[in-house]
Amino acid sequence: MQVYDAPLRDMRFVLHELFADDGFGGLKKFEEFTPDLLDAVLEEANKVAKDVLLPINAPGDIEGCTYENGVVRTPKGFKAAYDTFREGGWASLASDPEWGGQGLPESVNKLVEEMICATNVSFSLYPGLTHGATTAIEGHASDELKHAYLPKMVSGEWSGTMCLTESHCGTDLGLLRTKADPQPDGSFKITGSKIFISAGDHDLTDNVIHLVLARIADAPAGVKGISLFLVPKFMPNDDGSVGARNGVSVAGIEHKMGLKASATCQINFDDATGWLVGQPHKGMAAMFTMMNTERVSVGVQGLGINEIAYQSAVAYAKERLQGRSLSGAKRPDLAADPIIVHPDVRRMLMTMRVYAEGCRALGQWCARALDAEKHSDDPEVKQRATDFVALMTPVVKALFTDLGFDAANLAVQTYGGHGYIREHGVEQFARDARIAMIYEGTNGVQALDLVGRKLPANMGRNLRPFFHAVSNLCEEMAPKQDKALKAYTGGLQQAFGALQLSTATIAQKGMKDPEEAGAAATDYLRLMGLVGMGYCFLKASKIAYAKLAEGAGDDEGFYKAKIATAGFFFDRILPQATAMFLAIKSGKRSLMALDEAAF
């Protein structure tokens, strides 16, 4: 069974307590959003997620989207759910109030996104892509385009897409062929075929606004000749209603492993009217504004599925009666003990739990930096936030989606045969989670982005905010006498040492031979992610101890569980850092040893 109730206490913890001193907070713009107001927002978002989105998650997976005579339909109930969602203002939660958004911080938005992704990741794509598209339009489009499209898109009446991939080019967009012919009136005629377009067409909104990468006739070859265009499905009338159909048609929908309620379309543009967004040939830069927001959000998809997989597994482990505890019957009144008594089942549940809590905390840190990057008045803070976001974006995307899939997989394992059959809805998590490791740049590409771009940029300055925070915390905690905290600190110090050494190794070897950096990339990203989560768990434990010492009242159980959960992370997960370190140290030699012919 798919079981979900947003982990509101942990969300409030990461939002209000964990990062109070990270230097990214206290933004004037957000002063009006008091903690009790944000808590009310989270509480209502939870209601919408579990009462509106969760009930159509499994049925949506079974029914899937349909394509008939050029028309795409979402599964039963999606339109009604989308209307409830949109009318409640949830689609515009983090959008700029200038365009009708609610202007809430990303730190809150990412938590709400987590709830949406947990309860219905297919659904999350529709408002998610729209939000990404509005970000790109806001950042790069002309005022005229902004006024014509943003209000309708921010309100969710129209949705957005990003059209990058073509059948022969995905990761390497320099190869793309879609053409843009300039017209005398300043518009362009767009012609070409795109595939894998999420939310590419559907019946949820009156209009779909495509952001399309294409090449203007005389453009230079490669990625430096790509421009970004806004191409609506229907041409808008001056009064904001939809007018004539544009030359945009759907050739079909993809048949996918999961995410079946999200319409992934093949789209043909035939002399479709479009307008340039940003400068000619600078389309990649404009598109990356959107991609960066999206990458963090894709990480959150992994986190969301992680959390619902965990909750669903816990529910089953508590009620499935099978065998007896190794230390003697725990429930002699029942025919057998619930399987949660077994150490190996605990291993699975705890792993899912620390993945979820660790990623939630790390994601929150990153979201706060996103807010500071955009809204801080202090240039020094702004720069630090920008550096931190640059470094963490690939980590959040790849780490969260890898771990999200692992958690979904563990949930299936916890259910045994009942996880493998469809009736319990748990195998859906694994199928739905799988794509997040692939789209918005595969996790391999994220790792390359980390070692190839983010590390060397600005002479390694991107690392500074993260490394300083970790080393300061280790220094602060080292003299503590408490046994648990001492052990946690020792664990983090060791993993951090491994990360520093690996960074130096990659910097040295990678300079001479880029393949060395490429060979280290994926392990290095995981190592950085482990240290990031370790930092969050140590900091959380520090706060939990302090709160318990001053008397936590009703929250005592929460803080005690936080410390125990951190203990599992330091005992059982963080030691993987050593393995990563050794793998990185071994270099590319054994990876590249085989001749191609031997494969």
């Binding site: 109730d5 008091t34 009790d36 107001l37 009310a40 927002v41 209502e44 209601k47 919408v48 009462d51 509106v52 409830t84 009318e87 409640g88 203002g89 949830w90 515009s92 939660l93 609610q102 809430l104 009703d554 159980g557």
Partner: protein, 249 residues
């Protein structure tokens, strides 16, 4: 016309209540609390009346601990216009609540008071009726439909035998049943606005009411565990068993 809606902060309907070890009551430590579901229906109905133009203002009241402020904010986020919080740490009983509500109604002069038919924590199902008696005004309890026409309100009531329709002169008291409506989700803009809507802080003494409990709870215990049933071979054996138990003649 003003509509007054009392709301109560109760244990969330999804929570499985646990009885305290010493049997003095239900353990509320660390338990999720929410607005009483019947009260939520009452708030929804009042807002709908305002949206239809039948009412001009929706005032919500809660009598209980300081934290009941959250419950009032929820009602404001749904769309109520202003709130009154009457703070008391006593366990509030229907009569005291009805007396406070009577005093508030005297001040506010609402055309309708819409209450949940009962609160899911103590299941008293008394406050609305007591309030009607104290105010000397007509009551339409267990409403599944409410229609305001001029200076009267037509209430369709869910009674044992089916539906009963009554017409009441305004001001009147209505208590809601489950099927009256489906409460809305608070919209994000309304959650934000709720914070700046007026909320007046009062105490029972402001209304000259003593909330000292009149009822003593002797003991609270879990319902008995269901025991396994038995299989009977045929109808004759079933009838015989029922006769033996004294439930059939």
């Amino acid at each position: 016309m003003k509509v007054l809606v009392p709301v109560k902060r109760v244990i969330d309907y999804n929570v499985k209540p646990r009885v305290k070890m010493d049997g003095t009551g239900v353990d509320l430590a660390n338990v999720k609390m929410s607005m009483n579901p019947f009260d939520e229906i009452a708030v929804e109905e009042a807002i709908r009346l305002r949206e239809k133009g039948a009412a001009t203002e929706v005032v919500v009241v809660s009598i209980g601990p300081a934290k009941a402020q959250e419950t009032l904010r929820t009602a404001l986020a749904m769309g109520a216009d202003r709130a009154i919080l009457v703070t008391t740490d006593d366990a509030v009983e229907p009569l005291a609540v009805a007396k406070i509500l009577k005093a508030i109604a005297d001040e506010e002069q609402p055309g309708l008071v819409i209450l949940g038919k009962q609160a899911i924590d103590d299941d008293s199902n008394q406050t609305g009726q007591m309030l009607a008696a104290l105010m000397g005004r007509p009551q339409g309890t267990f409403a599944s439909k409410v229609e305001v026409e001029g200076d009267s309100v037509t209430v369709t009531r869910e009674v044992d035998g089916g539906l009963e329709t009554v017409k009441l002169a305004i001001p009147a008291i209505v208590t809601t049943d489950l099927r009256l409506n489906e409460p809305r989700y608070a919209s994000l803009p309304n959650i934000m606005k709720a914070k700046s809507k007026p909320l007046a802080n009062k105490t029972p003494t402001d209304y000259g009411v003593d909330t000292t409990p009149r009822i003593e709870t002797v003991k609270v215990s879990e319902p008995p565990k269901r025991v396994a049933g038995i299989k009977v071979a045929d109808v004759d054996e079933l009838v015989a068993k029922l006769k033996a138990m004294g439930v059939a003649a």
